[in-house]
């Protein structure tokens, strides 16, 4: 059944029953002597209206009040026709009044509900009056008699039963069986306590009116009114309490769900929207979060008139900019009448009239806000603000947890990267030093925590010659390790088959530039050792010049040659030099991690200290020379952990 058809059926039922009731009452009124009863009818009507006015509502449309007691009293006093008019008119007028008060002037509120309510009461009065009379009850009783009990009870039961039957029929047509069941659950307790059980007291009112006169009746009427007010206050207090319990339950659910949710921002945002929808109207809802990196504002969840909008990023302005400073919530009751501390950025073409903004704060840092908006003024109260703020607090904590978790994951990822880089770097180094007749070779590579790109290599060349190289890539981490791998293989390819060291490096330089678009470069010393004539022919591409210790004089020379680092300029010139080595001579190749090792006074180990260590230990085996240099560096730096890789290669011309 379509919603339209259903509405039409409900309307027909309501109007049909209502009009029928009123018509029957009008018909019964002929010759019933109503004109003579106009005065009591008027004040009963007034009392009934007032008592209904002070009623309370547990379900929409239905007002619970002690009005039934007044209506039945009027019936007992004035008879079913006049009593019927009291009940019908007071209900009709009250329903009408309520529609006007709520400014809800729809056909349903100003026509359907009042006519139904009035007409139904007319039928109740006529039917229950007839039963009362049939069982021997008399109208306008002056004294209580045992014979009144049965008819009175029958009247009350009929009244309450028919009243609820009428409304139940309407609920059934509106919401089907489930709608009816939920309606019955909602109203059963107040109906029993307010609508049925007090009903027989109507007899007391009738007796007072007839037997004691208007004065005592007025006192009783006052008492009725004050009891009505009291009942209403109690009912409202109870409703508030229930609403508060529902809020707390929802908040508890939100907290629980956040705890159980996987640590994902998008999921959390959806969750918040779903839970907020349970307690507040989220047809116009926004959950916006600051993006730390871009300093822009991300509209994570945005609904406009119930339609979900795609996620968007905007620049920070309006309320977000203001909240960043103030960190306070804003409750706007009527945008047209209030002066705001900021200029709101309209999110849709139809402007909001009232709105509520609540910031998300992490230790006084603004990270976003929640807002609900409405096209009608006065849509939100402090209660909404309180509940939204409570949700906001939980969300902020959860978002902060997500951020911390991601930070930890990022750190872990970096550590993993460093390990990969380290392993890669290590795998590229020679696993042993080659044997060269008449020479000793030793190498040692120490990686610092933050990997840089040191490497050394030995290349077997035609004619029994050996290429030695030591290099340092300018950067750290995985990119440097990859660049190092690239440089290593290109240098290897370049020098094998090259006519000279400088030629080999020039080729390598061209290839490195071609293959790499990065800002990285490599400093590199490359020498070719000819063990037959004990010469070392070398070129230096911007690397720390190795030290050459002369055994006969004890002097130290540096193997500098004009050149430039590889990987920067397309055309390079490299000077090529040659030194002849004599027995006992020592060449120390090193990277800047050795000479730039720092002590607690921020002093660098330096070339001079390195030279000193070489002089002191030149007569040891190549391997031990390295060990002594390490010792000297360690003694110098003390506890301070090395910042950079430190690599040493020692070539010693054996004593004959």
């Amino acid at each position: 059944m379509s919603e339209r058809t259903r509405r039409w059926i409900v309307r027909s039922y309501s109007l049909g029953l209502g009009l029928a009731g009123l018509l029957v009452l009008a018909w019964a009124s002929r010759g019933a002597g109503l004109p003579g009863q106009l005065l009591p009818l008027a004040y009963f009507l007034l009392l009934s209206f007032l008592v209904k006015y002070f009623g309370f509502r547990v379900a929409p449309d239905v007002t619970h009040s002690l009005g039934g007691v007044v209506d039945v009293a009027a019936l007992l006093t004035l008879g079913p026709v006049a009593g019927g008019w009291v009940a019908a008119l007071s209900s009709l007028l009250y329903s009408e009044y309520r529609a006007r008060q709520q400014r809800l002037a729809t056909p349903r509120t100003i026509l359907e509900v009042p006519l139904f309510n009035g007409g139904l009461k007319a039928l109740l009065a006529l039917a229950s009056g007839a039963i009362y009379q049939a069982l021997g009850g008399s109208f306008a009783p002056t004294a209580f008699a045992g014979g009144l009990v049965a008819p009175l009870l029958a009247l009350c039961l009929t009244w309450a039963a028919l009243d609820h039957l009428g409304w139940a029929g309407r609920e059934y047509l509106q919401g089907g069986r489930s709608g009816l069941a939920s309606w019955l659950r909602t109203i059963s307790t107040p109906s029993l306590l307010v609508e049925l059980l007090p009903l027989p007291t109507a007899l007391v009112i009738a007796l007072v009116h007839t037997a004691l006169g208007l004065g005592p009746f007025a006192l009783l009427a006052l008492a009725m009114l004050s009891v009505s007010i009291l009942v209403r206050l109690l009912a409202e207090a109870r409703q508030k309490l229930e609403a508060r319990i529902a809020e707390l339950t929802t908040l508890n659910d939100v907290g629980q769900a956040i705890l159980e949710a996987s640590l994902n921002k998008d999921e959390l945002c959806e969750l918040v929207y779903a839970y907020a929808s349970r307690i507040v109207d989220t047809r116009n809802f926004l959950l916006g979060l600051m993006d730390e990196a871009s300093q822009r504002f991300v509209l994570e969840v945005l609904t406009l008139d119930g339609v979900r909008q795609p996620k968007a990023t905007v620049s920070i302005g309006g309320v977000a900019a203001w909240m960043q400073e103030s960190k306070s919530p804003v409750l706007i009751r009527d945008l047209e009448r209030e002066k705001l501390p900021f200029t709101p950025i309209p999110l849709s073409a139809t402007p909001s009239r009232s709105a509520l903004f609540v910031p998300l704060l992490v230790e006084a840092t603004f990270i976003g806000y929640l807002s609900i908006r409405s096209h009608t003024p006065q849509a939100f109260t402090e209660d909404h603000q309180r509940i939204l703020a409570a949700i906001a607090n939980q969300v902020a904590v959860a978002l902060e947890n997500i951020r911390l978790y991601q930070q930890a994951a990022e750190r872990q990822r970096l550590e993993q990267q460093l390990k990969v880089a380290h392993d890669l770097q290590k795998s590229l180094l020679p696993s042993f030093c080659p044997f060269v007749p008449g020479f000793e070779l030793a190498a040692d590579w120490r990686s610092a925590l933050e990997v840089s790109g040191d490497f050394y290599d030995f290349v077997s060349l035609p004619g029994g010659k050996l290429g030695l190289l030591i290099a340092d890539v300018s950067d750290k981490g995985v990119p440097a390790a990859l660049f190092m791998a690239l440089s290593r293989s290109l240098v290897r390819s370049g020098v094998i088959g090259a006519s000279s060291p400088s030629e080999g490096l020039r080729r390598a330089n061209t290839w490195i530039l071609k293959d790499s678009q990065s800002d990285m470069f490599v400093t590199l010393f490359y020498g070719v050792l000819n063990h037959a004539d004990r010469t070392l022919t070398y070129a230096n591409a911007g690397h720390n010049p190795p030290l050459l210790y002369r055994a006969d004089t004890g002097a130290i020379e540096t193997l500098a040659a004009k050149g430039i680092v590889l990987g920067v300029l397309p055309e390079i010139e490299l000077e090529e030099r040659q030194v002849a080595m004599a027995p006992g001579d020592l060449v120390v190749l090193y990277t800047d991690g050795v000479t730039e090792a720092i002590n607690e006074h921020e002093e660098a180990f330096g070339e001079e200290r390195l030279a000193q260590a070489v002089r002191q230990h030149h007569d040891l085996e190549a391997r031990d020379v390295i060990a002594k240099i390490r010792e000297a560096v360690l003694a110098f730096t003390g506890e301070r952990p090395p910042f950079d890789d430190a690599t040493l290669v020692v070539l010693k011309c054996s004593q004959t």
Binding site: S474, D519, G542, A560, D592, E602, F643
Partner: protein
């Protein structure tokens, strides 16, 4: 790190001091990148206060000069102490950077120089 602009708009001087090594080089790099990001492409790095420059610091200067030249500007160096001068010479960076004796000379060099140069690292096409 001190940044100043004594030669009128368009030429900025960055004055690092103390040691520039692998640990402190990023700070210099950031200062240069900030200026470049702000559209300042005529930069002088005054190394007068630098008593030690590790080879690791060369990279941040290289990154800066590449970016500056790509944008039509340059990074010039001035007032190098002997041991700093030696690092540049050994690494061959004297071929890349224009090195002046004083900040004033570096600024003058800017005024007499057409803004564009080939982008470093690109093959000579």
């Amino acid at each position: 790190m001190q940044t100043r602009c004594p030669y009128g708009e368009g030429i900025y001087t960055v004055r690092p001091s103390g040691r520039i090594d692998a640990a402190t080089a990023p700070e210099l790099g950031q200062a240069l990148q900030d200026l470049l990001a702000a559209g300042q492409t005529h930069l002088i790095v005054d190394l007068d206060g630098v008593r030690y420059l590790a080879s690791g610091a060369l990279r941040v200067l290289l990154v800066a000069i590449k970016e500056a030249r790509r944008l039509g500007g340059d990074v010039k160096l001035c007032s190098l102490r002997p041991n700093v001068q030696r690092v540049f010479k050994l690494s061959g960076f004297t071929l890349i950077f224009e090195i002046a004796d004083s900040e004033e000379a570096a600024a003058l060099a800017f005024q007499g120089q057409p803004a564009t140069r080939a982008f470093l690292g690109e093959q000579g096409q």
